[in-house]
């Protein structure tokens, strides 16, 4: 439902406005608006000093948030910070000074540690590339120092150039005869590691041979250039072993800093946001030489609490008065409040602009009809169980109140209705349940009773559109002609459906005369009230009802695809392959079977149902309060 609002005015001595703002921020229920200004009541502008303070606080906030980003999000201090209660009130000047000092001291230290860690990680990644070569030729490389007149060459060839090894060996035999050693090993990634040992006297000839063949030695990384790879590798590997320890030391230092300062930084962030909000709210106040005026919207249920808080904190000199207790119009903010079990369905309503104040919040109706239509289309026990499992998984992986948790709740409700209709239609993965699990249709078989399915779908449409027209009468209650038009359209729809029912033989003939009479009278009345153009609205209402036949069409298509998946699976002669094909097709059908009903159920609500009564354009209710990390606006 849409919360009822009162427009209130807070009046008091000008010097009390900071305390009054503080009370409003603590109660967090007033959506501030600019008061009606005249020659004497002027907006309360920020002083030069306050503007400078605002800029300084914004820069400090950027630094605090950068520090919180750089500090680890796990470990000691984090839990404490997240559990910390709200400090209440605004930060004192000494708090701001302390936070500025903390940030100026901590920032270089934390960012320096982060920089060192990044450099160490980069060095580790670079040195790791030499690891495979060392592990392959480790024994030979360690004994290289014992061969004073031997030159070693280290090469890694790509896997696809394996044939080059034989060519290289032939060329070396031609140049050096038997006076060399060539060892090759395949590395885990498929590349080939080569180690060549040749007499130092022949080094120049070998190097020119390698250059002619386009084979390049592994480069020695920076910092080790003065040595050969054979000399550098052991040092590099020692370094590789020591880097994790150095990384750990820096991580421990960051964790120590987190444990020491994160709580204070979180308080700083909260305090800075709150102070900036207060400064941002000040231009919404009006003031004369002696008094201040604050105006805003408060939910009716919160008005007394606000008055009590102001009286308790500021005494009798500041007063709260309700200046409009039956507001109308688009400037009234809109807040949706629904019981916990309905709240997840607000995500469907919130995909559209909020409803205008004084109209209807359709969330409870969406909670009833959206899963019902979804279940009617999917209507399969097997798919419903898979969907329920996914909804359960999503619920476990998401935090309470998050968008994902709402999606999980909606999916769970849809799964329930899919299960119910699956039992009614006797379907589990299409006809698999009927043929192999002994499931039978309780109501009717969708494969056979297409007409019954179509009638049921249109009946859903009839009820839904009629409900929409009834809500339309309510939302247009202040415009009698429009309301009468909606009511007459609803009457014509009922009479028309009854008459049609008699004609096709579903209803007794006795109902025909009253229905036809009502139809004629209502048609004449409708033309009298809304003119000839009312026929367009009337035809659209009948068209909207017929549009619900998509419930049957999509449901039938989903069921037929499941049957095709089973038929294809059983047509394959190899059982394992057949199961694989069937599972694959069922997977595709499941994705389609969830996506398509969601889209079409949404469309039936937004286009057909909401079109009869929904008036978008509500302004979101944003009360002036303390900063909330979940809401995140300053």
């Amino acid at each position: 439902m849409i919360l009822r609002m009162n427009k209130v005015r807070v009046l008091g001595p000008r010097e009390q406005y900071p305390e009054a703002l503080c009370v409003l921020q603590d109660t967090g229920v007033v959506h501030l608006t600019v008061p009606g200004l005249d020659g004497r009541l002027l907006p309360l502008r920020l002083s030069t000093w306050q503007e400078r303070e605002s800029g300084h606080l914004r820069r400090l906030l950027v630094d605090v948030e950068a520090l919180l980003e750089a500090l680890p999000t796990t470990g000691a201090g984090v839990g404490e910070a997240s559990r910390a209660g709200h400090p209440g009130g605004l930060p004192a000047r000494r708090d701001l000074t302390r936070w500025a000092r903390l940030v100026s001291g901590l920032r270089p230290e934390v960012l320096g540690l982060r920089g060192e860690m990044a450099a160490l990680a980069e060095e580790h990644a670079l040195l790791s590339k030499y690891g495979p070569f060392l592990s392959t030729f480790g024994v030979i490389l360690r004994s290289e120092r014992a061969w004073p007149h031997i030159a070693a060459y280290h090469v890694i060839l790509p896997a696809q150039e394996e044939s080059a090894v034989a060519g290289l060996k032939t060329a070396l035999v031609l140049v050096l005869g038997e006076g060399f050693a060539l060892e090759t090993r395949r590395l885990p990634g498929g590349d080939i590691a080569l180690l060549m040992l040749v007499p130092e006297a022949d080094a120049l000839r070998v190097e020119s041979l390698l250059a002619a063949a386009g084979v390049h030695e592994i480069p020695v990384p920076s910092g080790y250039e003065a040595r050969s790879l054979a000399q550098a590798l052991p040092r590099m590997m020692d370094r590789l072993e020591s880097i994790p320890q150095e990384l750990r030391e820096r991580e421990e230092e960051l964790e120590r800093l987190t444990a020491l300062h994160r709580h204070e930084l979180c308080n700083a962030r909260r305090g800075l946001h709150d102070r900036l909000r207060t400064l941002g709210a000040m231009p919404l106040l009006g003031a004369t030489q002696r008094v201040f005026v604050i105006e805003g919207w408060v939910p009716v249920a919160e008005s007394d609490r606000l008055a009590e808080s102001l009286a308790t904190s500021l005494g009798g000199e500041t007063a709260l008065e309700v200046i409009d207790d039956h507001p109308r119009g688009e400037d009234v903010p809109v807040a949706l409040r629904n019981p916990g079990f309905l709240r997840p369905f607000e995500i469907i309503v919130r995909l559209l602009p909020l409803p205008s104040y004084g109209t209807v919040d359709p969330t409870p109706l969406v909670a009833g009809f959206f899963p019902l239509f979804f279940g009617f289309m999917l209507g399969d026990v097997g798919y419903a169980l898979v969907l329920a499992a996914l909804a359960l998984l999503l619920a476990r992986r998401s935090t309470p109140g998050s968008l994902l948790r709402s999606v999980a709740a909606v999916a769970g409700t849809c799964a329930f209705w899919s299960l119910a209709f699956g039992v009614a239609f006797g379907e589990a993965f299409g006809n698999l349940g009927r043929e192999h699990l002994g499931i039978h249709a309780v109501v009717f078989d969708r494969e056979e009773a297409l007409e019954s399915l179509l009638l049921l779908a249109v009946a859903f449409g009839f009820v839904h559109i009629l409900l929409g027209l009834a809500l339309g009468v309510f939302t247009t209650r202040r415009h009698p002609r429009e309301a009468a038009g909606r009511a007459l359209t609803a009457g014509i729809v009922v009479a028309g459906v009854v008459a049609l029912g008699v004609v096709v033989g579903y209803l007794p003939e006795i109902a025909l005369l009253p229905a036809a009479g009502a139809l004629v009278v209502a048609l004449v009345a409708l033309v009298a009230v809304e003119g000839v153009l009312a026929f367009v609205e009337l035809l659209s209402a009948f068209g909207n009802i017929l549009s619900y036949s998509r419930l049957m069409a999509i449901g039938t298509a989903s069921m037929m695809l499941a049957v095709v998946a089973n038929d294809l699976g059983s047509a394959v002669s190899v059982p394992v392959l057949g199961v694989f094909v069937a599972v694959l097709f069922h997977l595709v059908n499941f994705v389609l079977g969830v996506f398509s009903p969601t889209i079409h159920s949404l469309r039936l609500h937004y286009v057909e149902f909401f079109g009869k009564f929904y008036r978008p354009g509500g302004m979101p209710y944003r009360p002036f309060g303390h900063w909330d990390p979940g809401a995140g606006w300053t």
């Binding site: 995909l351 297409l450 007409e451 179509l454 017929l546 549009s547 036949s549 998509r550 049957m552 069409a553 999509i554 039938t556 298509a557 889209i599 079409h600 949404l602 469309r603 937004y606 286009v607």
Partner: protein
């Protein structure tokens, strides 16, 4: 002959409405893609609008079913 007429009627009911839906969706889809590129927050609205022309195909399908079950 009658069977041919019935099946041809059902096929035309689905086929022609499918072509019309496809044509409409191609126009909406192109405009929708451009909209999403500029304003990603309108993604859900675009998806809904893309689903609107499917009414034609769905009604065509219903007519085909009625032709096949009632006449066929």
């Amino acid at each position: 002959m009658e069977l041919l007429a019935v099946t041809l009627g059902a096929a035309l009911a689905v086929g022609l409405t499918a072509l019309a839906t496809g044509w409409a969706q191609s126009k909406i889809g192109a405009a929708g893609a451009a909209t999403i590129a500029e304003r990603p927050e309108l993604t859900s609205t675009v998806i809904i609008m893309l689903a609107i022309p499917e009414t034609m195909l769905i009604l065509g399908f219903v007519v085909a079913v009625l032709i096949l079950t009632r006449v066929g």
